[in-house]
Symmetry: C2
Subunit: 508 residues, 2 copies
Amino acid sequence: MSAATFEEMSASDFFYRNRDIAGLSNPSRSIFVAIREAVENSLDAAESEKIPPDIYVRLSFEAEATQDTQVYKLRVEDNGCGIQPRFIPSAFGQVLYGSKYKLKQARGTFGLGGKMAVLYGQITTHQPVSVTSSTGQEKIYSFKLMIDIQRNKPIILDRKVLINKDNWHGTIIEFTLEGDYLRAMPKIIEYFKQTAMVNPYANLTFVDPKGRLYKFTRATTAMPDPPKETMPHPYGVDVELLQRLILITECTTMTGFLRQHFHRVGEVTATKFLDFAKIQANKNPKKLTHEEIVRLMQNLKKYKDFLPPDASCLSPLGEELLKAGVMKELNPEYLVVHQRKPSTYEGHPFIVEMAMAYGGNVPKRDNFVIYRFANKIPLLYDEASDVAYRVISNMNWKRYKVSPEMPIAIVVHICSTKVPYKTVGKEFISDRPEVRREEANALREVARQIQHFLARKEHVHNEKKRLSIFSKYLPKIAEFSTTLAGETRKPDIEKLLKSVQKYGTEEE
Amino acid sequence: MSAATFEEMSASDFFYRNRDIAGLSNPSRSIFVAIREAVENSLDAAESEKIPPDIYVRLSFEAEATQDTQVYKLRVEDNGCGIQPRFIPSAFGQVLYGSKYKLKQARGTFGLGGKMAVLYGQITTHQPVSVTSSTGQEKIYSFKLMIDIQRNKPIILDRKVLINKDNWHGTIIEFTLEGDYLRAMPKIIEYFKQTAMVNPYANLTFVDPKGRLYKFTRATTAMPDPPKETMPHPYGVDVELLQRLILITECTTMTGFLRQHFHRVGEVTATKFLDFAKIQANKNPKKLTHEEIVRLMQNLKKYKDFLPPDASCLSPLGEELLKAGVMKELNPEYLVVHQRKPSTYEGHPFIVEMAMAYGGNVPKRDNFVIYRFANKIPLLYDEASDVAYRVISNMNWKRYKVSPEMPIAIVVHICSTKVPYKTVGKEFISDRPEVRREEANALREVARQIQHFLARKEHVHNEKKRLSIFSKYLPKIAEFSTTLAGETRKPDIEKLLKSVQKYGTEEE
């Protein structure tokens, strides 16, 4: 009998062979993903230092490739924090290498997207990526790189150092890739539009292959506080994490260990918990046995009295910024926004923000227009698979006298240190009970307010109708009565009209 | 300004941190995934050698963990081809290491699932996995392993060699994991049921934690031919693949290179193509410039006269086996099956098989019951995201006089050297136009046949009704006429009844 033979594969090779799962499934989608990943890295790089982002994206036509695809050059410039030269090669030429492996809110979370875009460019056009960056110090560094896919290592083809006269900081990347811009265009423009909506403090410029300029100017320079790094919450740990912490800890007691490495665990909580878990408070964590580590983990999940994660590590939009963003893009007749209190799933804090807009530039369709965002990035694909879609579909809309044919847009934003994406391509949020509950509650709140608005709107409408009847017939009646009475001077009916007018018509 | 700091991450670490994307999102799902991955590896190991699979799965309760989860031990035994001892540690203790990186049809495709299940067991219970295997030679090898997640390497804790007296071949794995069997149970039983449906040559035994025995006995020992390994088709290549082939090739001319390394390219096609692409036929492939490689790739995609991939590398079920499987599980009143001709997407061959069953044990619901399979594995999650669901929903059923309330089950099977899964967790097939088209055509074909059946069924029903009216009133009329005529002997109405009976009532 012949047995199977085996081989090893690098992470880069794995994602190269399975690029569908990173969203690079066809020439149109790939152009979209490349632009999106670059823009998101740029936004993160600016926001981490509270710099109002200025991002310039240019996609230019290079050559025809096949019947449906062309070769394009993509250039993205930002004014972010920049990258230190020693990190540049791996940051763009090595899959699973990045700055995003910390417990904090960021747009990118997989350390994958940017490299996958570069990799896709390489396998379709065989050209290197060029990266120029400075952290604002004296020098600007410029690299030409390719990826050794089988070994998952960057290949440095060229390296230049320039003098940074103006203390410029930021990053410029440029690479070529094959794609189908014509088919991708609607999604790309929509992407910029929606990104501008939830990042109203960013300047976004996009020049497309036809030379058309799309400019989204910031509505404010007020920036939310950058997200902070945080420690793991006791509810979210597993054995592997415990072992890693035990390996690096300098604490010599369990009380110290818990206080030092876990989110919201103080002296009192640590002591009470160790009592609950029947682990000695002064035991050295490095001396825990395998069984004790497992018991520690199980008890961390069981113990009821840990404080919930606090959300200071999260950077939600806030109701004001959300309002400003939606007003700018949709200019609705009526708008309500609502931010939920922080909640958690598996020890990860998250916040749901929701907006509901009526009328104005909201497009009329057979169904609600849904805008989905996660950590301030728009999600444009696979709407029907997203938990938000299910929450909206399952809502009892009749109760709120709202119907899907109305010109209503619903905006959902979830921010978290770990957004529960279902796919590496970040297309949609998985159906976690905690997320579903928060979204449903937020939706009920905005729906209630829309219901009030609609009721008042209807009332005003009826009132206007009633008044218009009065004001149509009263003058006739007055005229007729005057003639009948043989008078020549008509009575003043203005007073009379005012008296039947109830309230509210001017409110509009 | 402080710039970002960077770190590297192993593939194992990546999937550990993002285990949601491999389907391990909660304790119930994780139990399901662990069983599924083990069963699929076992089926592949038996099928590759055309051995009718005997697979024994036992899940046993070990201890309570938290409120909702328990610790279980999972043991899976198979009679497959076995694994050579030198490959065992990495095959179970290293992510992205496997036998599945070849261009051939297999259940597992990511080289990920089995290790992820073991990894999940380790991070929840801190116990090693034990693997015992033999390829049927003199010895049986037994290992105890853990995974070094940060380095993505196996740690061998124990290794034993035993004498293989009975020339046993197969693999036994056993590990503990935390999970929620009660909630996972319905899906797990359904998984075995559906696996039995499309693998009617397999014996499957499952003993659950309550000691209940589920046995699915094979209906046939006829096995489909094992899938063959194949070469890449010219339409599916990219620059990276070309470079890898150039690196390993021993051919010194382009004609030889194309014939040697590509699917369905012979002397004539190679010569014609090189003429089309304006590349010299006797050029040494190792001397191609970067630009020539890119041009070669673009032309491989452009050239219209390559033969389509042949499907000898695929192992579909075939209409007979599909029929047998569905009959065994659903025992329907009427069943049609249809296999489409091979088709391709991006150079990957695939075949769609479809069955439609009416009545019998088909459950009655508000909508069709859909069974989805890919390379003979059942897909049980995220139905609404699957291309098959969309094809079925978009069908004009009225045309076929079929309504979703009828007791109708639809079975879709797609087999391919590369199933276009949308997620690493293999939950659903992405919406590729080629796949959509094939599924729609297959569906129309079976729907047409069901329509004929339903028409005949209705006709027979009406006929029966008509006859029953005759047979009810004719005797009365006969009796009445007899009395009226003063006769005592009633006329023979059997002949009369036969004459009004048209056809078909006995067919039932």
